[in-house]
Each structure stands twice: as structure tokens, then as C-alpha cells.
């Protein structure tokens, strides 16, 4: 293949991996590059046929306390880092934001963990199954007060949210439908060992829901909702905005809604269709989404091959606006530009600082910027800047940025230009700070390289996926 085509093809694969997963290490990328785009696409969109036993072995060697709210977050981050089925984890994250349940109210990390497993089980399958499983999920029942939904005093919370946020979206039902739907879900309760149908509390009477009448119970409601045209449309729009574009054309949404219908509500088919679409491979799609904190954090950990999920990561992700298992409300995370209010931008910048600071130098395999530069045999400022721009932002930056970065890297501590032999850039990290303004000459290079990588990771385009 001519070089240009190969480069474009490789870029497509990296784009695909970023969208279908959480970034990649060089070793993780290599087999996909070798496969070529269509095989990579097939591999990624059939997670159930990828062997994930390596992850299971790794998990077995860790110890998590699933009744501890911090540990369940670390567990999930570990999965996202080391899974061989990136799309499976990404879909789980999508559904977690969709069927948004917060441990803040549920107060049961174990139940949140079980909900996460339930989601993963159905993430790529038939939507009806997922919706039914969620309607019976103990954490969800607790979260939307269905425990209190009783025959003579119905509680409308679940019925409302299931229509407004989980299936059809606002404007496709009436208040009366909410009331009738609530009646159908009466008696759907949770016990410590799982779902419990309290038939004594169930309203067995006739209900009229979305134009249909019958002695409906929850299963019937799930069935009716999953078969609504509005549901296919709503889900299609959400999936496209999560994986492809913020403002898709109506025809694209219609197309994927069509797949929902044709495939008998199969989520995997919809997602595959999105990735296979020309809308996805077009240049307009490249770098068009803003990385969620999850993608930002995991992507960075993979780039620098940090082999340890450290204790602070869940808290820092929460500070960036994505607290796993604790979405801000039942609407989940709005995403998009909501990820970049000013103080969360600062959190992102400071997370990048943390990543390249000497904090992780003790970790084997951790690739500090200086180490990367040495491994790549970079010997000039321009080469270094070019390499890191290519690695981190796929060269998506105006020429002025490149020039300014070169100027930064090749200046000494007072800002004056410095000659850059770049020999032996790896030096021993300092153990305690020196007086400000002074840095020994052999440390200047290390500081510059770390600073360079930090500056690139604060670029607007590094926030893009």
C-alpha cells in the first residue's frame, strides 16, 4: 500500500480504537494495525468472541472489597485498563450513564457492582432484555423508589424516568401514561438476595398505557416500550452522540433507528452500523467529540504505560466531573461541552501534570517523557516536538503551536535559546526541590521534556477524541 494510504488507514484504526475503547498502548495497537481496518472493526464489534481470560486472571490476583465504594471504582478502572474487549467496557459505561443510578442514594456498593455486571451481560444484546433486567435490578429499584411503589399508593418515579430517560424521551407520553405505568410496576421490589415480586402489593387491574389496554405488569410495559418507534429513535440518537458525532444528520439517526427495528432491537447491530457508516470514517468525525474524564484518564495511563491504578484516580476523575457509580442525577452525564467548565479544565491540566511528574518514575515500565525520547532516538528539538505531537494529538495543531513548543523546549531556564544535543536525556530524578530559579544543567532537559508533554496534553485538541 502506498504510504499515504497506509497512514490514513492507520489513523482510522487509531480513531476507531479511541471511540470503541479508551485509548491504547503501543503493544495493544500493533495487532490491530496489522489486521487492517475492516478486521479490526470486526474484532472490536464482536467482544463476546474475544478471549478475555487474561483480564480474568489479572483480576483474580487483585483483592477488591465490593462493599467498599472506592474499591468498586478501582475495580472498574482496572477492567477498563486491561480488558481485551474495549467495546464491552465502553458500552457498559454508556449504559451506566443511560440507566444512571447513583450510590449516593442507593448506599450499597455491592448492589452497584451487581448492577454493573448485569449491564455488562446485556450491553451488546437485545435491548428488551437489558431494559427488563434493569427494571428488576435491586439498585435501580432502590434508586427510583420502586420499593415504595404499592398497590394503593403508587410511586410514579420509575414509570416516569423509564419513559422520559430510558426509552422514548420526553414528549411521547402523557401524565396519564406515567400513572398507569406506575401501577404496572407496583410490587416490583428488591430483597438483599435480588429481585422480589410482591404480588400482594401488585395492582392487578386493567391499565391503559400508550394506547393499549390490558392487565399489564412490568414485563408488558417493557415489551410495549421496547417496541415503540420513539425508543429506537431515542436510542439511536444517544448512541450516535456517544460514539460518533454531536450533531448527526436526521438521516443518520433514522438509519440507525432502522437497524434497531430490523435487527429486532439488537444493540450490537446498531453500534456496528454506526462504526461502519461513512459518517464515522469521514474527516468531520475525526476529533469531533470531547473526551470524557474516563477516556482522558485511561487514555493517558495507557500512553505512559502506568501499570498501576493508583488510589487517587477515582477521586480525580470525580473532580473532572465523572464520578463512577455516582452520576449527578438520573439523567447521567450530559457529556460534550459539559466536560469543559473552567475548573474541570484545570483538573485535566493538573492530572496531566501528575502523569508526567516524577511521581511515577519508580514504576517499572512507566514511560517518562525522557525515556520515550531516548527509546525513539530523538536528537533535536524539532524531532521531539514532532514525535510527541504525532503521538498525542495526531498532529492536530496549527503550525504556530509547533513553533512555540520548539521554542519552549530549546530554551534554558531563563528562556534564552539553548543548544540541544539531546544526548543521554535520562537522568536521575531529583529527590528534593532546589531553590526556585535554579536548575542544574543536566536537569534542564528532563524538565523541558516533561513540560513539553504537559503542554501538549493541555492543548485544546488533546481534549478531543
Amino acid at each position: 500500500m502506498p504510504n499515504k494510504n497506509k497512514n490514513k488507514n492507520d489513523q482510522q484504526i487509531r480513531h476507531l480504537l479511541n471511540r470503541a475503547g479508551f485509548g491504547f498502548t503501543p503493544e495493544e495497537l500493533a495487532p490491530y494495525l496489522e489486521m487492517g481496518y475492516s478486521s479490526a472493526l470486526e474484532q472490536l464489534t464482536s467482544p463476546s468472541s474475544t478471549d478475555n481470560s487474561a483480564l480474568d486472571h489479572m483480576l483474580a490476583e487483585q483483592s477488591f472489597d465490593f462493599t467498599n465504594p472506592d474499591d468498586i471504582k478501582r475495580w472498574w478502572l482496572f477492567r477498563m485498563m486491561f480488558t481485551r474487549r474495549p467495546l464491552e467496557e465502553k458500552m457498559t459505561l454508556f449504559w451506566h450513564g443511560h440507566f444512571a443510578t447513583s450510590d449516593n442514594k442507593v448506599r450499597n456498593p455491592y448492589a452497584m457492582y451487581v448492577q454493573n455486571c448485569t449491564i455488562r451481560k446485556h450491553a451488546f444484546g437485545k435491548f428488551d432484555d437489558l431494559l427488563l433486567a434493569m427494571s428488576k435490578d435491586p439498585a435501580m429499584i432502590e434508586w427510583l423508589d420502586n420499593q415504595q411503589n404499592r398497590k394503593n399508593k403508587p410511586n410514579e418515579n420509575y414509570a416516569r424516568e423509564v419513559m422520559e430517560l430510558f426509552t422514548m424521551g420526553i414528549g411521547n407520553y402523557t401524565e396519564q401514561d406515567v400513572k398507569e405505568g406506575a401501577r404496572a410496576f407496583t410490587g416490583w421490589q428488591a430483597k438483599p438476595d435480588g429481585f422480589f415480586f410482591n404480588s400482594g402489593q401488585h395492582d392487578k387491574g386493567s391499565k391503559t398505557f400508550l394506547g393499549q389496554t390490558g392487565n399489564f405488569n412490568g414485563e408488558d410495559i417493557v415489551n410495549i416500550l421496547a417496541n415503540q418507534k420513539a425508543t429506537g429513535h431515542y436510542l439511536a440518537g444517544k448512541l450516535i452522540r456517544f460514539f460518533a458525532l454531536y450533531n448527526p444528520s436526521n438521516s443518520f439517526v433514522d438509519e440507525i433507528a432502522g437497524v434497531y427495528k430490523k435487527s429486532d432491537h439488537n444493540i450490537g447491530a446498531m453500534v456496528s452500523a454506526i462504526f461502519a457508516s461513512r459518517n464515522f470514517t469521514s474527516t468531520a468525525c475525526f476529533h469531533s467529540l470531547i473526551k470524557s474524564p474516563c477516556e482522558y484518564v485511561i487514555g493517558m495511563l495507557k500512553t505512559f504505560q502506568v501499570s498501576q491504578v493508583d488510589a487517587e484516580v477515582p477521586r480525580l476523575m470525580a473532580a473532572m466531573g465523572q464520578n463512577l457509580f455516582n452520576p449527578p442525577s438520573v439523567k447521567g452525564w450530559d457529556g460534550g461541552e459539559n466536560w469543559i467548565a473552567s475548573d474541570v479544565m484545570m483538573e485535566r491540566f493538573n492530572f496531566a501534570t501528575r502523569m508526567i511528574s516524577q511521581k511515577f518514575d519508580y514504576l517499572e515500565k512507566y514511560s517518562s517523557p525522557a525515556k520515550i525520547a531516548a527509546e525513539q532516538g530523538l536528537t533535536s528539538a524539532a524531532e521531539t516536538v514532532d514525535y510527541f505531537l504525532s503521538l498525542l494529538v495526531e498532529n492536530d495543531a496549527p503550525p504556530a503551536v509547533r513553533e512555540r513548543l520548539i521554542k519552549y523546549v530549546s530554551s534554558d531556564m531563563t528562556g534564552k535559546p539553548m543548544t540541544m544535543p539531546m544526548t543521554n536525556p535520562i537522568t536521575m530524578p531529583m529527590t528534593k526541590p532546589l531553590a526556585s530559579g535554579k536548575l542544574p544543567e543536566d536537569k534542564v532537559l528532563d524538565a523541558r521534556l516533561r513540560g513539553l508533554v504537559h503542554l501538549i496534553m493541555t492543548l485544546p485538541t488533546y481534549q478531543l477524541n
Partner: protein, 431 residues
Amino acid sequence: MTNPSSIYNSINKSISRRDFLAGLAALGILGQQQLEAFASQIDPLAGAERSILVIQLNGGNDGINTIIPYGNGAYYDARPKIAIKQADVLHIDDKVGFHPSLTAFQEFYKQGKLAVIQGVGYPEPNRSHFRSIEIWQTAQPEIIGDTGWLGRYLDHLSISQSPGKVVKASIEPDKEKIAMLAVNVDPLLPKSLLARKVAVPSVSDVQAFRFKVDPLYQADRALQLEAFNDIYQNFDDNRPVVKKLRTSGLAANRASERLLDLVKGHKTTVKYPDGKLGSSLKFIAQMVSGGIGAKVYTLGYDGFDTHAGELRTQTNLLAGLGKSLSAFQEDLKQHGCDDKVMVLVFSEFGRRVAENGGGGTDHGTAGPCLVLGGGVKGGLYGQYPSLTELDHGDLKFNVDFRTVYATILDRWLGADSREVLGKNFDNLDFC
């Protein structure tokens, strides 16, 4: 900060209203005295040091259990389990009173600093949290707006005054203006602050909000910061999403340096209650007394979606609200600023009159607004909605929330509410 021509512009805006009023006076509809009184309330310079703090109670606070119609038997009929006993209610008059947790508010009310506006809502109420919050924040019930009411206010402000710092323009100069006109003290920017021209920083933890470099290479910070600013200011890229990222990044940096300086210098003897609300209000007090000159502060307080277990939850939350605002007012008073901040407390909707099966209530419609602080004429405003003549089991509103906004905009901030809200709304008399 204000230059003569901008003052003239603001006066011009109010003159047009004055002309209108003068016309009315000429027709004998308004007396000269009334005209003068009205005109003085729209003196643009009066807005110079004033600011507004908007606290959003997230989840839909149960207004009926906040401002309690204890004199009405229907209240006890509808809520056999969760009604507050008459003896516990903190009386305002012989019909309504405060929830027992709100002792601080009763105190403010006695001092004449608290206005209770009853029955606030809007036509065709929406019982979805998100749509209703959006309506309150955009002040646009009929369409899905893309700017907030406070954002539009800030946009107008930034046109008529030159902002403190102007970023070097690259492509579209107007879109790059950044100023500390407002601060959002919450992790996520509420839609009320979405503006076309102004980027509002969101700062929930001022210590974390600082551009950091490798701690062992502090010497490098100045140069990195310089490079960062150069790159961001000259980032030549037309994509809308990139532009937003630029604006946000620059705003973050500017704001952080300024805020850190401010916080260092603040001293107070007031003890705020533990928790996010207390620490956020403390931070706002620091900014107000430190003189950053922001006109708008926003804050959210979570947990009011009481579908079940309402009594305990609401008791705790309202106690927190009362104590925190009490500390806040005291802190401002110590620094001579308590008459400069007006606090507006609202929720996206009230809750149903009847209780549900779980010791709670479901989403409703109208609810009370509370306005506290500087320039407030304390008292009860609006009507308490009827508990028996309902709209599908919910209260009917009698005060459009936009009149509350209009009052604050016109009379407190010296802005033109018609420009901000899109049409004329009456003013209430609480300020």
C-alpha cells in the same frame, strides 16, 4: 472599570423607559412622584457594587412543607403522615409559617431581610427535573433556549462596560472577552450562566484550581505558563468545539491566579457548618469581601427529590440551608458587605399536595421563592396557592418566575429586564 461612554449607554437604556413613563405621566396615568420613584430605581450606577447569589435547590423542594399553610385544614387532610404539626411550625402569620429547621430564616424575616414569594411557577408546568430546571435557567418556557438568563445579563453587561482583561484577538475578537463578571461555585456550569460572549469560570475548590507543574521543577512554571498562554491565545482553528475549549482554558487560568490571591487575604471569625454548602458560601463571602467585582454567583444544593422519607431528608437539608446562610450573612456583615449581596433561593418545581405511599411526595408544580439580603423589603408576596383547587393534583401558580427575575434585574442590578428576558415582565415589590 466603567468609562463615561458606557455609563451614557446604560443611562440611554433607562431613558427610553423614562420617556415611556414620562409619556404616561403626561397622559395623567402616572404621577410625577411615582415617575421619579420608579426612575430612581433604575439608576444604572446603583448596580455598581451589587451582586446576586442564586442558590438552586436541586430535585424539587417541597414548598408546602417549607412555607407551611398550617392554618389550612386541607394541609393535614392531604398529608396524614408527613404534615408538620402546628405546634412545631415557626409562625410568619396566622396562616403560614416556616419549617421548624428554618429558625435562621424566621430571624431574617423578623429583621425584615427576607421576602417569601408564594406560588411561583409558569404556565403549562413541566414535571421533568431536567426540562423544568432548563426552563428556570433559560427563562424560556416556550422554546428550548440555548443561553441562560444570567448569561444574557452578563452578555449585556460586557457590551456596556469594558471588561477587566481582553484576550488578544485572533479570529473573532468579540467572542474572546473574558472577565470575572460571574463565578459558578459548583463543578458543573448551570445553563443559567451559558452566554454568547462571556465565559464563566466554575470553581469549587480554589486550592486545586491552579496551573500546576512537576513539584520538583517549580522553577519551570513561569515559562510553561507563558507558553500555555501564547499557545492558547494564538490557536488558529475554526472548529466551534476548539474555540470553546480555548475560551474555557484561558478563563480557567485567568480566574485561578486572581482567586488564589483573594482567598489568601481573607479573615473571618464566623464558623460555617461542615459540608459543601458551608464551604461554598464561605468561598463566596471571600470573593465578595475581597472585591473581585463579580455580579453573579451560582450554587446548587442537592438532595431535594423526596419521593420517599421526606421528613427526615428535608429536615436535614433545610437545617443546613438555614445555618449556612446565617453564617454567610454574618460573615458579610463583618466585612461590611451584607447589603451588597442579594440571595435568591429557588427550586425547579414544588411537589404534589398529597403524600405518596412512601412517606414522600411526587413531582409537582408551583413553589415558593425566597429572597434574602441587601435591599430586600421583607414580607410575604404572591398568594399561597389553593390546596383544593388544583391542576391534576398540583398547585396552580400565581407568580410567574420571570417577574421575580425581572424585579432583581431592574431594581437590584440596574439592568434592563426586557432585554434579558425577551419581553416586559412586571416587577414585584420585594426590592
